[in-house]
Symmetry: C2
Subunit: 475 residues, 2 copies
């Protein structure tokens, strides 16, 4: 058996990705380059990592997941750290918590500061209790802390704080926009496997998570798995506590599986849509290929300088053209676009930045504004594309009763809808095709590797059907 490559690096066995600590050093360098000239000489960035937590009042500790900015800057796996970066030199200091000696019985050999310095490839490490004295010794012109709005959640990032911070000059404004510009993820591939009528949706969630962890060393999930079959495919955030992937998959169901794993806090976000029984009906094929067409139209159009809002509108337009071809809508496409008819079928945004969070930061920097129009208001970014941006492209067409009802009640929209054809699609669910891409100098790189055409999907599923079926506890 081969071994992981030498430390400092993150690795879960030779079959998994090795992430060298230099990645984080490069991240810090990029940040320092951006900050130089904008902050006084002698400035120090100070970040606080995620804290260990317990569930409600109990002593149950969920598996720790590092705060994303801190992960980006330091790649630290444990809770309760601080980290500092001297902007002028890039000199990096980690501040691990000093645990009581007795913790060794429960947690194993306690690492020393020297151990942590080696483990994470930083210049220095000191206990977090020494933050005030260590920082005092550096005589910083200013401490740059992180405070900024997350435009997906509406929450603010938590600013670093420690006893004695009042002795220092603190600037909590400049760091957030600069670090947002720097956060730039890498990603990985995942694979979808066999399904049959007669399994429960959650059994596919279980299989997916097991595959990712067993085969890829991925302990975390990027987000709650969405395993919507039949009409559940039209519930955009299906899989939540009130609808926990508990339906039995039926013959004839269309499936919409949106599942992503996480490796060392790097996320993926991929949706596959396919027929439960392995063979598209004509109707399923029609809707699927409409979405496939818009997905590939957007992929052909993205490159630096292109507006993401225009890409959303391109997907809308493609959907409407295809739905017209299929006889579900009728009339002039430009007129449909004016009344935002596309949002009836795709109420969510076309895609989002992705990285250390599934919905990564930086979508609405200062000077940008969220649209108030249907569909467009759900966009997680309105930016002009730049090289190195990582996004999802995830057009979809859904048959959502409340939205269809509202459209039929809106004369401006109803005049384009072919009621009988649309009503016959109620209960269909939905189709979403979600890929992860990186913007390159003159286009994009596709990072997702799953079967996408109707033919590719049917071929793969046919192969799966030639293997002995997975034993099911319910049979």
């Amino acid at each position: 058996m081969a071994a992981c490559r030498a430390q400092p690096a993150f690795c879960r066995g030779p079959h998994t990705l090795t992430v060298p600590a230099e990645l984080f050093q490069e991240n810090r360098q990029r940040l320092c380059e951006r900050l130089k000239g904008k902050v006084p000489s002698g400035a120090i960035v100070l970040l606080q990592g995620g804290e260990s937590q317990t569930r409600y009042c109990s002593d149950h500790e969920p598996i720790f997941r590092q705060e994303s900015y801190f992960q980006w800057a330091f790649g630290v796996e444990e809770p309760d750290f601080y980290g500092a970066i001297e902007v002028d030199t890039g000199n990096t200091i980690l501040f691990p918590p000093k645990l009581p000696d007795t913790y060794a019985v429960w947690m194993g050999k306690l690492l020393t500061c020297e151990d942590f310095k080696e483990r994470y490839g930083v210049n220095e490490a000191h206990w977090s209790s020494d933050i005030p004295s260590i920082l005092k010794g550096r005589n910083p012109a200013v401490l740059l802390t992180l405070k900024g709005l997350n435009t997906d959640s509406g929450n603010y990032s938590r600013e670093a704080a420690f006893d004695g911070i009042s002795q220092f000059k603190v600037d909590n404004e400049i760091l957030h926009p600069e670090i947002m510009e720097c956060v730039k993820p890498q990603t990985k591939k995942i694979i979808m496997k066999s399904i049959r009528p007669g399994v429960y949706e959650y059994q596919m969630e279980s299989l997916f998570k097991h595959y990712c962890y067993f085969t890829g060393g991925m302990r975390g999930e990027a987000y709650t798995c969405i395993c919507g079959t039949g009409d559940n495919g039209s519930v955009l955030h299906y899989g939540h506590a009130g609808a926990p992937n508990s339906k039995l998959v039926q013959d004839g169901d269309m499936c919409l599986f949106d599942m992503g794993c996480e490796y060392y806090c790097y996320t993926s976000d991929i949706t596959c849509s396919f027929p439960a029984n392995g063979k598209f009906t004509e109707r399923q094929k029609g809707i699927y290929e409409a979405v496939y067409k818009s997905s590939r139209a957007v992929m052909a159009a993205v490159k630096p300088g292109v507006s993401w809002v225009d890409m959303h509108l391109l997907a809308d337009r493609t959907h409407l053209e295809e739905l017209k071809r299929l006889g579900l809508v009728t009339g002039d496409i430009d007129e449909m676009m004016k009344v935002r008819l596309g949002a009836v079928f795709m109420p969510h945004g076309l895609g989002h930045f992705m990285g250390l969070d599934t919905h990564d930061v930086g979508g609405y920097p200062e000077g940008t504004e969220r649209s108030k129009e249907a569909g467009l208001k759900s966009l997680r970014t309105v930016r002009t594309l730049e090289q190195r941006m990582v996004l999802t492209i995830e057009p979809g067409i859904y048959f959502i009763d409340v939205l269809l009802d509202a459209a039929f009640n809106n004369p401006e929209q109803a005049r384009f809808l072919v009621r009988e054809r649309i009503d016959s699609h109620r209960g269909f669910g939905g189709v979403r095709i979600e890929d992860d891409i990186a913007i390159t100098q003159d286009g994009m790189e596709l990072m997702t590797c799953v079967p996408r055409t109707v033919e590719e999907i049917e071929t793969l599923m046919e192969e799966g059907r030639r293997q002995p079926p997975m034993p099911l506890p319910q049979d």
Copy 2:
């Protein structure tokens, strides 16, 4: 395919346990019986359920897990509920949150109050925004809210709060001790499967979780899996973020796997210890059988009226007798007991209440006190056993360097230790045998069903070895 039994009940398919809503009704009745006479006529219990949360400043929502007291009383699967119980009548009111209509697009069809009433088998349901007016209409003599110390974490349970609560008389003291007395779990079995040298510890964690979810519909884990092999078996809380089950299992390793799943918030907590290659060495057998002996000695002794502290001491004494037989300690057992020598080998408590939390509440009711002595101070309860109590019995022997070093440096303890024999066990790891039991009228019921004797374990593992090996991505 068979279906789940009719609502109101929790079920994840016919192969999984059906938990009828009557269970929670019985729980509430038991609580009301205890409260009657201690509270004025017209008192109303008011509990607040767990709230939906996001990770740090992002919009990532971890899978919701209900707060345990709320689960015990109402069995509600979704976040942001309140629940009220009229003590005189048992009349039960749920207060779900009123979600904006637009959420239907993201979450699916929004349930009405009538739906929730049916779903959870309660008498009434009203939106949580109507709590003040609904409660006002009942003119409660007092609202009983929950506020109490969790003695495992040192945290207080969060008291129910809503806008307008100041209009009511509130008592936050009486409910906590009464509800603690009522919380009484049911439980289930889990099964451990195949392992080989050459797998990673985390691959067994993955396999376990997959088995529980795929086969048993258990989405949650009771606690972070401890998959300690070799020396890691001596790290009591191995598996945490800084030691995430990432070691490669070696031929000759002893394994200590402490893993529990959760079904509808009911937890299990089971530890199995076994040799990685399926065959105990003489040394492994010696330590294993010492722990097995203490486990069964405790099982033979527990019944109503017995002190849990005495059970801990019984396990200690059995360990010391066996270690003496094995030549690791020498001298008079009573003298060893006086200097707490047992705690060198078993620094944790013998076991704990278990139910909706792995470490369930009620360990230290008023009038009880935590010991300051080694080992005993780690006990999560010091109570006298009563019928219907559910506990773990989990004796263990570990070779923990820091504790052995301390014992050798303590002349009172060192005189019993046979240095050469003990040093030769360094790196062994540890053995823990953890079973889940319920105290019955005259003894106990064993709820765990796993192979336990050396022979049973070797037979099962031999069977596993006759099957084709699991393909490993690292091979």
